[in-house]
């Protein structure tokens, strides 16, 4: 019965805008070829769903995003933990990592194409590069900023090595790691959108680029909307995970 208090206010303006848009297109104040009406877009979306095209393309894009996220996230997390725990590793690695971090990864696209061609590798590589650093930085700071008093206490209670990491260091770093994860998810979609403009045979980017050649503005807008929805969905899932994992934190920070 939670829905009883549904708040319509945030949705009022988007709803009105869509209605106005529909009306304006229906009255042919603007060209329907350039500004397809919401109903046209929904119909297109439905048709593409029915014939399976849309799910295929979304699947391909999601696959790229998640593969890149997993690889980049794992590398960033591992480096963050390593440098957070070991001063020596930090001194050897951090400067190098920071230098690479300062290169805008999207500026590497031409080079990446030359090196890796225009296949899947190049796109996934760009996502990896994009998500690696936010995860690294936040994991590193999270581990470093765990209260040393708690670490000392843990040691006194016989926690060493993996046990100390599992019970004290990792949970202590988790709030910061989640900040990194949510930031990385944003970078992931942005990188993917741009990476998918590199010529390709499938994916939402392909759908949009291909539609451009045939002036199918409805499909272009549809793919933009789907990118937005997927981005939102990823954030909601991350937030859900965060709330579950950090239940203690909510009351702790009160």
């Amino acid at each position: 019965m939670k829905k009883m208090t549904f708040d319509f206010r945030p949705w009022a303006i988007p709803f009105i805008l869509i209605i106005v848009w529909e009306v304006v297109v229906q009255m042919e104040i603007v060209s329907p070829a350039l500004f397809p009406s919401p109903i046209t877009i929904i119909t297109t979306g439905w048709n593409l769903t029915i014939n399976g095209d849309l799910t295929t393309h979304i699947g391909v894009s999601l696959g790229r995003a998640l593969t890149g996220m997993l690889i980049g996230g794992a590398i960033g997390f591992a480096l963050g933990v390593l440098n957070g725990l070991s001063k020596n590793c930090y001194h050897y690695l951090d400067t190098t990592i920071q230098m690479i971090r300062n290169i805008p990864h999207l500026a590497l696209i031409p080079l990446v194409i030359v090196w890796m061609g225009i296949g899947e590798d190049a796109k996934i590589f760009l996502v990896v590069l994009g998500v690696l650093f936010p995860i690294y930085v936040n994991t590193f700071h999270g581990i470093r900023n765990v209260d040393p008093n708690l670490v000392e206490m843990g040691r006194m209670y016989n926690l060493k090595g993996w046990q100390l990491f599992r019970h004290v260091l990792l949970p202590g770093a988790l709030p910061s790691i989640f900040v990194g994860l949510r930031y990385a998810l944003g970078v992931m979609w942005l990188t993917l959108i741009i990476a998918e403009t590199i010529p390709t045979q499938a994916g939402l980017g392909y759908l949009a680029t291909n539609a451009r050649e045939f002036m199918q503005t409805d499909i272009i807008i549809l793919s933009i909307v789907i990118y937005a929805l997927l981005g939102k969905l990823a954030d909601v899932i991350a937030q859900f995970g965060e709330n579950r994992a950090l239940k203690w934190n909510a009351s702790y920070n009160k």
């Binding site: 708690l150 206490m153 209670y157 926690l159 019970h167 949970p171 934190n249 009351s251």
Partner: protein, 262 residues
């Protein structure tokens, strides 16, 4: 696990941080099962002494023996309770108590929580507890390991007066029931007098006096012997200087709550 109180011998102990000497010429013995209170001004090195005994700091010079064996080589079970209870905020109360235990410990943890009267809070997050409750959980967490030496570094100084008295009674009870040597740092002289077999004053980096308290337990804070002792110690602390005015103005009002360093 070996569970016997230990004797601690400290011989010519000296501790410096860099060039700064904190403690010197500390030689003393804490007998098996003895309850020793360490008092002294803020920054006098009380915590450092405890941390040295707990091997949390390196001894610069001198020897530390547990039952005659160098502390480094001893497997004696030493636990410490801090002023900030240092509970892990991401673990429920019961999981904090079971920290560092292996095997099936939940019954043990419940028993330990029961001893400190907090079994009903076992599934709470630490952040929802009061200061006194947090210290009780920290006490349970230490007790479950059946320490041979329990050190308490100003465990009650953040608590209100009533809770403090309650906790003092609890600590005394637990010390009487469980076998361990106890080392309590406090800046509350009445607390030291109430709980300890012996009071040690750290001043200018060494032991300035060492006073046994031969008052039988259970002790009442209103016991004239204790009040006299407290006054004597306060006198010594102030080097006789301002004790007269203190006597009139504060001792008369509240002999129980005089602290060395408010």
């Amino acid at each position: 696990m070996k569970h016997e109180p230990i004797q601690i011998d400290i011989q010519n102990l000296q501790k410096s941080f860099g060039k700064k000497e904190i403690l010197h010429d500390i030689t003393t013995t804490f007998k098996k099962g003895e309850f020793v209170a360490v008092i002294g001004k803020s920054g006098s090195g009380k915590s450092t002494l405890l941390r040295l005994v707990a091997s949390l700091e390196e001894i610069t010079q001198g020897d530390l023996l547990f039952d005659g064996v160098p502390a480094k080589n001893s497997d004696a079970n030493v636990k410490m309770m801090y002023q900030d209870s240092r509970l892990l905020p991401w673990k429920k109360v019961i999981d904090n108590v079971g920290l560092g235990l292996t095997g099936n410990w939940s019954a043990l943890a419940e028993e330990a929580l029961d001893k400190v009267g907090l079994l009903h809070l076992k599934d709470e997050w630490p952040s929802t507890l009061s200061g006194g409750q947090k210290q009780r959980v920290a006490l349970a967490r230490a007790l479950i390991h059946e320490p041979s030496l329990l050190m308490l570094d100003e465990p009650l100084s953040a608590l209100d007066a009533l809770t403090r008295i309650e906790m003092q009674n609890l600590i005394e009870l637990i010390w009487q029931k469980n076998n361990f040597t106890a080392l309590l740092v406090t800046h509350d002289v009445s607390e030291a007098v109430r709980l300890a077999d012996r009071i040690i004053l750290i001043e200018d980096g060494s032991i300035a006096f060492d006073e046994p308290i031969a008052v039988p337990r259970p002790r009442k804070l209103t016991n004239p012997l204790l009040i006299e002792l407290e006054e004597k110690i306060l006198n010594r602390l102030m080097n006789g200087r301002e004790i007269a005015t203190l006597n009139e103005k504060q001792l008369a009002v509240s002999p129980l709550n005089l602290v060395v360093n408010p």
